[in-house]
Symmetry: C2
Subunit: 318 residues, 2 copies
């Protein structure tokens, strides 16, 4: 039985390798080759907190994965991280526990970043140079790292955050790995960007349709629960390609759910990332299209990350 700490897990992750696994998982999910039972959930109302249990099995794989993720927002006041948890890798052949990955949410953070970069790589113009990251938290960091790793042609990153001090810190942290600066004016930054990644906890639209040039790609990862929203619904309606990670989930509480509720878009306007990755044609038809990827996070990504870590562990051990 393997037991790995957060730092051991982080040291084993190779972003491009993990991205290959996550792409496979997106494809498998879209083909219906992933058994994903309903997510388990327990709440702790006195702390405004909860725990989610996501689990699933990719058909034919020797292991299945159970992810336990807690969210305790009041931890912030105690100086503790708000998200925590672990990932269990179990044998789908004999039921034994193969590994306990004490990732404390880092696998979720990284797989969400990689999901965003995979979507951007799939949908953005190949000559995209300027990436705008909206948000300055943990996930903004993971998006930048993943985009640096997967979109090697991009030249410059800008970070916009409500909290300028936090955005400056993020810029300072990532300056060693990419050309990065803080954006002062969000509208101006949107107008100049080829790729926009939104990774905030916003509940009101931050990016207006008027600001967005033709040819822009937008990856939106902030809306992962009901009530959250980052994009103007007019922008969602205007998009030529609307990609989602999971139809049902995105229509329920993803970024596209707001436009869908207003009747501006319908289920048939959406395409799954996994389907686009499997398709024989390019996801983006031309350089003028506006493309949007709405990612809510799926358990298939967690399975892929866990397997990626274990493969790296066993490669290192041998």
């Amino acid at each position: 039985m393997i037991s790995l700490s957060r730092s051991e897990i982080e040291a084993l992750i190779d972003l491009p390798q993990a991205a290959i696994r996550i792409e496979e998982a997106y494809r498998a999910a879209s083909l219906g080759h992933v058994n994903l039972p309903p997510v388990g959930h327990i709440t702790f109302p006195q702390h405004n907190a909860d725990c989610h249990i996501k689990y699933g099995h990719i058909t034919g794989k020797p292991t299945f994965v159970i992810k336990i993720a807690t969210g305790f927002p009041n931890n912030r006041d105690k100086g503790l991280q708000t998200g925590n948890g672990l990932v269990l890798v179990m044998s789908a052949e004999n039921g034994q526990v193969e590994a306990v990955l004490h990732d404390e949410m880092v696998l979720t953070d990284i797989r969400t970043g990689l999901g965003g970069a995979i979507a951007s790589r799939l949908l953005a113009r190949k000559d995209s140079k300027r990436v705008l990251i909206v948000g300055s938290g943990q996930q903004a960091r993971r998006q930048i790292e993943a985009h640096v790793a997967l979109l090697t042609n991009t030249a410059a990153f800008e970070v916009w955050g409500r909290n300028a001090e936090q955005a400056d810190k993020l810029v300072a942290r990532l300056a060693p790995v990419c050309d990065i600066a803080r954006a002062i004016d969000l509208e101006k930054a949107v107008r100049q960007a080829d790729i926009i990644v939104t990774a905030t906890g916003s509940t009101v639209p931050l990016i207006m349709s008027d600001w967005v040039n033709e040819g822009t790609h937008i990856t939106a990862v902030g809306a992962d629960a009901p009530g959250k929203q980052e994009l103007d619904i007019a922008l969602v309606r205007r998009a030529d390609v609307l990609a989602v990670d999971l139809f049902a989930q995105c229509l329920d509480h993803g970024e596209v759910s707001h436009a869908a509720k207003e009747g501006l878009i319908a289920a048939q306007d959406l395409q799954e990332i996994g389907g686009l990755l499997s398709a024989s044609t390019q996801a983006r038809a031309n350089a003028m299209q506006i493309t949007i990827a709405d990612l809510t996070g799926i358990a298939a990504q967690d399975i892929a990350m866990a397997n990626s870590v274990l493969t790296a562990w066993s490669d290192k051990a041998t």
Copy 2:
């Protein structure tokens, strides 16, 4: 973070102490003080196997518990145990993982044994001397150990099993801790018993109503899934006290479900163990009553066992 192996866990368990915790948990469950979300479930049809995720939180307790239990019946052919898994103890204050108990199902086995002995102690005549255990597997063993620990007045155990060789092995194993022998004739053994514990995987009734004397107590733990049955429905109907661990679960797939489906008993004929433990009156009204406890196993027991182990661990550490 605490991580304990199966052998470390077994060494920390004190049956009478754990029984106190389990009784508390039964009471809390019957009072509605346990938040028990629906059980998670994933199947592996090619192996006729599955995994259950049971989790819950007793109101006001600083921790909550997640139990992962796998069942791979084909493991028998590979020389591996069929049940496996682990128990996670998580902080209900900040969401951190407090302990990983790699119990490989032993906590479930022991809590099921203790549940049976708690029910027998609650419902059997105080002068009960002869205990008949029907079944000779892992759970028969745990039932005997728990009855020895909690019902200190009982004098003699008999074991009946379809597989005489396996029953002889169980008798040999437990001979050092109690007066125990193999029963040759099940009907005769039933007629002589004060307490009968059924712990088999039977799908047909093993114990006939005609065989059972007035004043007998029966604890039935085998029927934990649809289709399983150990007692004649006439016996269930005849019982003066019908105790269950959880109303909904026992009516769905417990021992009493068969009589309920035939219309011989109804929900109002049942009493929960937790309610009986909390009541100011004796669960058994007189020495002539036939009492039956139908136990399907509840997550509150798992919570109690995990907390009992952690308390013992921390007592030992200080």
